[in-house]
Symmetry: C2
Subunit: 130 residues, 2 copies
DNA sequence: TATATCACTATACTTTTGTATACCGGTATA
DNA sequence: TATACCGGTATACAAAAGTATAGTGATATA
């Protein structure tokens, strides 16, 4: 139960909290990190495999997002000494544990859709134009 | 344990899941929505109050983000018939329940910092330049 | 009379994020 | 010989997100 100490600590060291939340936001930021992590939850993948799995992503973005995730300690990149090289991406322990964040996001989203669409009974929620 | 039904359902209706997660992402997208919601968790606020609470935000962004949050059913806007007008913003039920998402984000972030900084024992995690 | 507050909006701009397209050297397959 | 795969990078551009600054009309305070 972190809940109970929340406010108590928040008064004393909000900086720690802000940094922690920023870390989480960095993992979620942008259009592609969520689907990439989701794909890697099914196991280690190679670059092109990810590219096929995460539909519509360009190699440029995939490369960049993987670099970000690696820098943030979410993904581990391993290069094998084959010819040509084999590169494998997999989630770190932290990356795997991020699933619990994704789970509540999904859970809340489903709940929210049910409640809100029923409540407002009108146009769909705001979405990005495709 | 959502875990067990996850994959089963994922195979059948992934669209629902994608939409739900998108909703959650919309609530988190951008620089300001998290702090705005966090502020509103302490109770209803007026426009300028929020502006003071959420440091460094410009009225333009505050206005825009509040409109987004309202459209997404997170915030309720009430105009009172005073002169000059009084406008109050408060979280909807969905908005309040969003706290559980924020809680795991915080929790995961703290955990991740502990593990990762200890693990890598090097430069800090990637952060935006100020 | 001058200044401040309320809840914003308008305009112009910069920065960040994402896309499109082509390309690299080396290897395996047809 | 031609093509495709591997794991990306280079360049140029478009779109989205965010900032800076000023201003609105009415009312209350000094």
């Amino acid at each position: 139960m972190i809940k109970n100490i929340d406010l108590e600590i928040l008064d004393r060291c909000p900086d720690t909290f802000v940094l922690a939340v920023n870390d989480t936001m960095n993992v979620l930021s942008g259009k592609w990190k969520f689907p990439i992590i989701a794909s890697l939850l099914f196991g280690k993948k190679r670059f092109k495999e990810l590219g096929r799995d995460v539909t519509k992503i360009t190699p440029r973005m995939l490369s960049k997002e993987l670099r970000d995730l690696e820098m943030n300690g979410i993904v581990k990149r391993t290069v094998y000494n084959t010819v040509p090289v084999t590169v494998e991406y997999e989630l770190t322990a932290s990356g795997k544990s991020f699933k619990k964040v994704m789970d509540v996001m999904l859970e809340w989203g489903l709940e929210h859709r049910k409640i809100t669409l029923h409540d407002l009974e009108k146009s769909p929620l705001q979405t990005k134009a495709s």
